[in-house]
Symmetry: C2
Subunit: 311 residues, 2 copies
């Protein structure tokens, strides 16, 4: 299963392969849901199966392969972790797009959930996707031993919490207010905010894959060191794309971060400076796994893909 | 600790005692949070420490006392479960009050979270409270063994899910649309919706307390049989209060359910019929624990309190 080739084509095909695995797993999961609230389940499905690069899932599955190559049961557990991560990511996008938040009418080239359905349904679909992520991880039928499953619940909840993703979104909203009031929001505050908003879940991704696969504490800790700069690099690359990409390819309006007065790494470092910074961060990421040889190639290639993507 | 006296005063004082325990536990928990997103934590705290009857917490703690009297460690675990339940309940109220949902400007006599803060903060505070409930239950420092903690995560997530609380809120919103379109929403649909919206978390409450305390499967199952009719009774009593109580005592506008075209048990059964129905349901609840003697008195008295309360 592990593709350790270093060509960009190989990594794109690995991402597509892992993305399809998780998408199928999620589709099966939604098919098995029996709630009479059919509109809610439809909105959850719409948000979760609406494309997306599945970077978090790929990081999770690749880390599991590094931790326990050829262990099918470990991989099954990691697939659950990957699905839970993508549910949390999808929930965060639904809520971020709401009128009271970023007010975005499209996502991945399609109407946002509150446009395709309505605002109340979007709020509830986000809520229920978050719940479902924890429901999935704690299912009694799971292949995961209780102690591993509980650690996954904890990693995912810490990553999504007021100290992680939700707190980062709050700081991002405050940053807009600070920018508008002329007080500004410096590079340190922006980096902290992005480490929480995007970084925390990016860090949780390989860590959860490794835990699901029964990795050593050393590997879990090295994967944290790998993913922490990657989380920032991810956002720096997003800021670069917000300036350079076109709306069609991104599937969402570009240039709007600047219009909204949002702090951007491009503002701080300039376009070329931001690109160099992203490159340096990814180098730090790759170095953190240098001791693992070819087994870490896929994770390192995903890190490089993150800053070289054009969408 | 167990107060098995049958007087209404004794049960009120038991509820106040358990409520204070959980409120203190929650306050300590928020004090220990270190997120730089201070406004978010403030809104979470505001929502969670804003009064409330703590019925779910009391059901949880009372079930733990029934399962393992005088077991302090079991009680500590149940206190965590009770706090997690109250966090989920608080999150659901924040989101239910949002303009796109029930559009309620007051809650427990004070401004709703989106009024006291703003809409974006309210959405995020609900999101983060849900996350924190799972974070708390899965904390590595917990007194709970992994398998029990994982079962608690599962009970709480199933109760909050698209098949439970979130799904019930969706059906409630659809019911309004059906009522407006003249298609109606019958007593069976209303009962199913309420069993999900309010009932699922009411059922999870004593079940989680019992699991935290290491109860037998038989007791867990009897507590489900106790709490299932109670969940409906809770809502029937709410519908009765919506007609009979005054706004000051309720801390939220009364009579508005009718104005919003919401299906009410009072519409189906009339005021006296609804009171009788609630009484019959609570009798079913109490009967489910008849075999447990005086140890079950507190739970049975809470059930009676639920339909005799005036707020």
């Amino acid at each position: 299963m592990t593709d350790s080739s270093k060509s960009p084509d190989a990594i794109a095909s690995q991402l597509a392969h892992d993305g399809a695995l998780v998408t199928d797993h999620l589709a099966d999961y939604f098919d098995a849901m029996t709630s009479p609230a059919t509109q809610l389940v439809e909105a959850m499905r719409y948000a979760c199966l609406n494309g997306g690069k599945r970077i978090r899932a790929a990081l999770c599955l690749s880390a599991a392969r590094l931790a326990a190559p050829d262990d099918k049961q470990a991989f099954e557990g990691a697939l659950m972790a990957a699905s839970a991560l993508e549910m949390i990511h999808a929930y965060s996008l639904i809520h971020d797009d709401l009128p009271a938040m970023d007010d975005a009418e499209t996502r991945r080239g399609k109407p946002s959930v509150h446009i395709a359905f309505d605002e109340a349904t979007a709020i509830l679909a986000g809520d229920a996707l978050q719940t479902e992520a924890f429901c999935l991880l704690s299912a009694p039928s799971s292949v995961l031993p209780s102690d591993r499953a509980l650690r996954l619940v904890h990693e995912l909840s810490v990553g999504s919490s007021a100290s992680g993703m939700a707190g980062g979104q709050m700081l991002d909203l405050m940053a807009e207010a600070l920018a508008t009031s002329g007080k500004g929001f410096g590079v340190a505050e922006t980096e902290q905010m992005q480490a929480m908003k995007t970084g925390a879940l990016i860090v949780a991704s390989p860590v959860m894959g490794a835990i699901a696969a029964g990795a050593s504490d050393k590997l879990v800790s090295d994967l944290r060191a790998f993913a922490t700069p990657l989380g920032i690099a991810f956002q720096v690359a997003d800021d670069v794309l917000d300036v350079t990409a076109d709306t069609t390819k991104m599937g969402k309006p570009v240039g709007r971060d600047k219009d909204q007065g949002k702090a951007s790494f491009v503002d701080f470092y300039g376009l070329e400076g931001a690109k160099t910074y992203a490159h340096d961060l990814v180098q730090q990421s790759c170095d953190a796994l240098a001791g693992y040889g070819a087994g870490a190639n896929t994770l390192q290639m995903i890190a490089k893909f993150v800053i070289n993507r054009s969408y």
